[in-house]
Symmetry: C2
Subunit: 395 residues, 2 copies
């Protein structure tokens, strides 16, 4: 992935929890960078989320500082003090004000952040700042992830080519609104913060907020977006500016690609499951039905077992509370219509569905039969490895 003008990165081994690997990432942003952020809606949001919400709302930043291994969540007033100390020290390293530093932390909840280890690592990390080491950066923010996640896109704004690069981490505790899901998007485009924020919010709704691994939502979820302006494109005048069309598409593709990488790396996941709901009475109802299927442990274990147990899909949509007409409901998997108008299709050939389920990319399609709204969400199967990973994560 290419460097983004105006963005320099450096990693460090602060030893926050992990040994022998990078666990701290500093992204230094050139003066003039605009930012936007989307955050968890958890009632127990972590200290860095509370901090970064404020900074992002001002629309300007000069640095992202991210650590893995400790979430600094549910750490009370000490957690807020630690956030401030970290921002102050990062600001010194970069040469900006603490209120221009965006923070994100991921890892164990409830344990005090070993802030002195971060502070100790900052002077060294500053000297190593350079454009473009995306893969190493993506690795530094991982926790239970099995691979680093990155994606790039390019677009024209007017006649000016701009680049978008994103990295993400996340594997368990993934559900809307997000999860211990962190993602950082960088572009050299010139986009005012007042336009960057709605672009990010809209793109997140159909990507990071349309995925679920285990229905659990983390206290730390953050998607941060920085635009350095170095591409010197013509400044757009609104989020609906026609000149932004290609940029918006490229951004949405980057966000969705990263979100699907997160699902594919869902803890223990062996299959990606796409759930598409049509014929719903509203978009909200469609999402509700789709997420009920995507979060159902019984559906997810059936897919893990490559078992065409479509009755569980009917159960899940039934319990969702979304309005539906049982006598018009249809269910398909991999394009094979299994049930139509409330009962099994006479010529239904289970062998076709079983064959589809043997693949790594499973599709479940539903029509609720009561309207025209639709939604699509992504999840993964629920396997023995999910239990193995999560029954002994901390120990």
């Amino acid at each position: 992935m290419p460097a983004v003008a105006g963005v320099r990165l450096a990693m460090a081994r602060a030893g926050i929890k992990y040994r022998g690997r990078d666990d701290l990432l500093l992204a230094a942003l050139d003066p003039g960078t605009t930012v936007a952020g989307v955050f968890t809606r958890s009632g127990t949001a972590a200290a860095p989320v509370l901090w970064s919400r404020k900074v992002a709302s001002r629309g300007r930043a000069r640095a992202f500082l991210i650590n893995s291994g400790n979430a600094n969540a549910f750490t009370g007033t000490q957690g807020m003090r630690d956030v401030r100390t970290t921002a102050v020290q990062a600001a010194k390293a970069v040469g900006c004000r603490p209120g221009e530093v965006l923070l994100a932390s991921t890892g164990v909840i409830g344990e005090p952040l070993p802030v002195e280890r971060i502070v100790r690592a900052l002077p060294g990390i500053k000297r190593r700042l350079k454009p473009g080491p995306w893969q190493a950066a993506a690795r530094a923010i991982c926790t239970t992830d099995t691979y680093p996640k990155g994606c790039m896109g390019q677009a024209l704004i007017g006649n000016t080519p701009v680049t978008i690069v994103g990295i993400a981490k996340g594997s368990g505790m993934i559900a809307p609104d997000m999860a211990t899901m962190l993602s950082f998007i960088f572009t050299d485009a010139c986009v005012p913060a007042a336009i960057l924020q709605p672009l990010l919010a809209a793109g997140t709704a159909r990507s990071f907020n349309s995925i679920t691994v285990d229905s659990d939502t983390s206290t730390s979820d953050s998607v941060l977006f920085a635009a350095t302006g170095k591409a010197c494109n013509q400044r757009p005048c609104s989020a609906n500016d026609p000149a932004l069309k290609a940029f918006r598409l490229a951004l949405n593709e980057v966000l969705l690609d990263l979100a699907i990488q997160v699902v594919c790396d869902g803890e223990g996941a062996s299959k990606l499951i796409t759930v598409t709901v049509r014929g719903a009475s509203s978009s909200q109802a469609a999402r509700k039905a789709a997420f009920a299927v995507a979060n159902s442990p019984l559906v997810k274990t059936a897919i893990a077992g490559e078992d065409a147990n479509w009755g569980r899909v009917v159960m899940a949509v039934g319990k969702s509370g979304a309005r539906l007409d049982q006598h018009k409901l249809s269910v398909a998997m991999g394009g094979v219509v299994i049930a139509d108008k409330g009962e099994r299709v006479v010529q239904y050939d289970e062998a076709l569905v079983t064959e589809h389920l043997k693949g790594a990319d499973v599709s479940i399609e539903l029509d609720l039969g009561v309207g025209k709204a639709k939604a699509r969400v992504w999840t993964c199967d629920l396997t023995h490895d999910y239990i193995r990973i999560n029954a002994d994560y901390r120990t």
Copy 2:
């Protein structure tokens, strides 16, 4: 468990799905029996649920006919025809009208009910009707259950002793409102249907509707309650009649005991988890918070791993949407206060909690710090066996 006057039971091997075991239960009820029912709120409720809702609403019945191995759910108009055929034949066997037969089915969803096998078994089953074989009856309705579930209670109404006996089945797909959870309660008390129904509804809210195994709600959940009146107690005049106090307590105890038996037999369960939420702004908020914890895969796998990962409890209550004050939130496990007023207690000794988690009976207590409402729900841990059972249930 004692016989209940006015109730006779018989089982049969109809061969609906299972071989070499009973899969059909007929309970014949003497004339004059009143009934009440509580059913799944699924939008894809099974044919027997649609049938029994109507019968129960009339308050009178002469028979319960229950089969395991096929849920007759999402079977369209054929399913409704099969329900009627079954009721007609059961009515013949018992000597009543089809509209006096309550039906329940549990098992695979979406496959046509082999109704002829049930019809064939009915004449034989009729000849074997007798008072009291509760354990065999409880066995006949099992699916993935690992043990039959039953409970009894006794109480006085006025000076007249009455008996309550209940059986239940259920192990996966358990969540409010219920799940493939069937329960049948019988009493010799004389209680008009108009009083029986609110008694059952109230008792169910704090028992079967306060448990969850996997958040999945079945299309077949039914709790049916029959009162034969053979005890000849004085007829109560309302659900609040003081003479019913002991009866209500005994009923609630039977319902809760059965509900907890169901949780303890949750698919793959190795531990019973009781989640108590206090300090909530309303009962609904308390339930929402308690269920968010009880349904969290990350909490349930941590308990399975005997890991005092209380941060996941904070995460779960945070995502619940229940109003809370993060700075007043407290978390305890097994009575050991871990976090208080939004941060970890300084003298917290994890060893005490770890010791508690080694037991089979785990308690999680939360105070949301914003009100006086409370709720208690029960669940089980999430283990490898849940995956094993559910990844190859149908095949």
